[in-house]
Symmetry: C2
Subunit: 332 residues, 2 copies
């Protein structure tokens, strides 16, 4: 091969679905591998809700947006096919931010070798951003205690499904909010959640009252939307709200407002946001926390695999429609 394909971001989303007009698929010449560099053939790319932030021009965000005309940012896993780097050899499996492209030339900064004998999809679904995010958010922000009740929105998503299973393993009552009966069935009957709320069809207040008779101690928020107000109303004194994602509001020009802070006082709540780039230095500790749950078989996952580089573009919209079933992965 003398060329490879990449996808550049050429316009910023204005709200609403992600269309092909935001991207440009380009053919690039295969690069020369200089001293200290190596070339990775990417096998799988991860699609994550955080990408909407990376695509927007909001300069107040936690990391700079992708510049127009540059390769769209994403994490992925691949194999080294050429190396002039003393620390990485041909055949090594590596993971990191490689972007929407078939090949990735690098000096190794920010990439990690993958030695676990697990398929690419499992690595990206558990030991990459989703698992790290779930571990940081649940334990270090949510501070769950055995016997407490946690509600997780986006509970069948890549982060929410791990949060719920970690909490369940630690002895909490775990209720998940999902967007289909199929997902409700999966989190209850496969993952072991104590209950599920279908936010599209259930009477939210009634179902929540039924499933959280002792109120809610931790709310792990992945979605936003009307469920936020219903769960908020059920928070117990000294409750913790972990704000991880607001996918329902990302496509809106003007996001919905949040519940009044009066109850924040009365119930002495903590509402705390976090993003993983602040915690990349903590990744070894987070993996150490997460790994035992995985080894004991307490963390199941499922990947929703799309095929081919270009499938990433329309694939992003599955976050809005909720039609993804498990961690979204693009196989190259």
């Amino acid at each position: 091969m003398s060329t490879y394909k990449a996808i550049n971001l050429i316009a910023r989303p204005q709200g609403g679905p992600i269309g092909p007009e935001l991207f440009e698929v380009v053919e690039k010449p295969m690069p020369k591998v200089a001293d200290g560099q190596f070339l990775v053939k990417q096998n799988c790319m991860s699609l994550d809700p955080a990408m909407f932030g990376w695509m927007s021009a909001d300069t107040e965000s936690y990391i700079p947006p992708v510049a127009l005309g540059e390769v769209m940012r994403s994490s992925g896993i691949g194999e080294i096919v050429e190396s002039n780097h003393p620390g990485f050899k041909v055949g090594d499996r590596v993971m990191g931010m490689m972007g929407w492209q078939q090949y990735f030339l690098t000096n190794g900064a920010g990439l990690n070798k993958v030695t676990a004998p697990l398929p690419d999809e499992a690595i990206l679904s558990v030991f990459a951003l989703p698992g790290l995010t779930a571990t940081q958010g649940l334990f270090n922000v949510g501070k769950p205690q055995k016997g407490e009740t946690i509600v997780v929105s986006g509970a069948a998503g890549s982060v929410g499904s791990i949060v719920g299973q970690l909490a369940k393993a630690d002895g909490l009552r775990v209720i998940g909010v999902v967007g289909s009966d199929e997902k409700a069935d999966w989190i209850v009957n496969e993952l072991g959640f104590d209950g599920a709320i279908n936010y599209k069809t259930d009477d939210l207040a009634a179902k929540l009252a039924e499933l959280t008779p002792d109120g809610v101690d931790v709310y792990f928020e992945n979605t936003g939307g009307p469920i936020q107000h219903h769960v908020f109303a059920k928070m117990n004194a000294h409750g913790r709200i972990v704000v991880c994602g607001m996918i329902a509001d990302y496509p809106k020009a003007v996001p919905d407002l949040a519940p009044s802070w009066i109850q924040v006082i009365k119930k002495r709540l903590i509402i705390q946001g976090f993003t993983m780039p602040d915690h990349f230095g903590d990744v070894p500790a987070l993996l150490e926390k997460l790994t035992p749950y995985v080894m004991k078989g307490q963390i199941k996952h499922r990947a929703h695999v799309l095929n081919g580089l270009e499938s990433a573009i329309t694939g992003l919209n599955l976050f809005f429609t909720g039609d993804n079933k498990g961690k979204l992965i693009v196989k190259l």
Copy 2:
């Protein structure tokens, strides 16, 4: 005297101004002082925004509401006029929750002796609830750092004025939000705030942009209202929002909504509520923290004194109109 006056709560506020129909002024026979008891003649009572919570029937609040037919709850300071208690003698000055009444019979539980040679108004304005609340909220929740910017709403109020002065003494840039030019003048020219915003007359966004060129690191929220959204929009990454009071929303049947949590994620904000009853055990430590600032003359105060027990009833409405000038105190 064979009788004394007390005011009972007989109905709950339904939103809107506090009217005399909620209360009943009664004459009670002077009580007999049994063994282990003493009788306090109350000299000054404190009016505090927390009283709206105590009057409402919201059972989810942090302390039970005042029962209908009982003496309205309040803190005050007075002098012991009769004692059969070994630890308290006639002439001792004591402070604590004595309620809206001229005399208070007690076994001493929850009362503290006052030894500082300061007038009643100064004790109630600085070393009682306002100073303790300011100290707990600013230092233990807001975690201010020298060089940061803090915005305080209700900045001429009993808590806000102390918060701002403590922050100023610790080297922060301090901006206060007030409801009149007179209050703006007081906090800037008497208390040393770096700037003031009159929320009734200023262009909030423009004035805030002018006064907080480096953004806002700590927002100490005493009021709610539209200023909340403007300050929220100026929060810096890793900002802390201390939710202490929402006086603008207490009289509303349906409180205003709060800003979307999207920025809570992007800026990794912490929004935290607190109430002092959780921290009554920390009072010695809080006083130890607060006292040096007072001794160095860094904490000025002013009391807005009303005269006579019954003035408490209409006095409460000054919190809504903002016509109080300093700490509201009822002199008996």
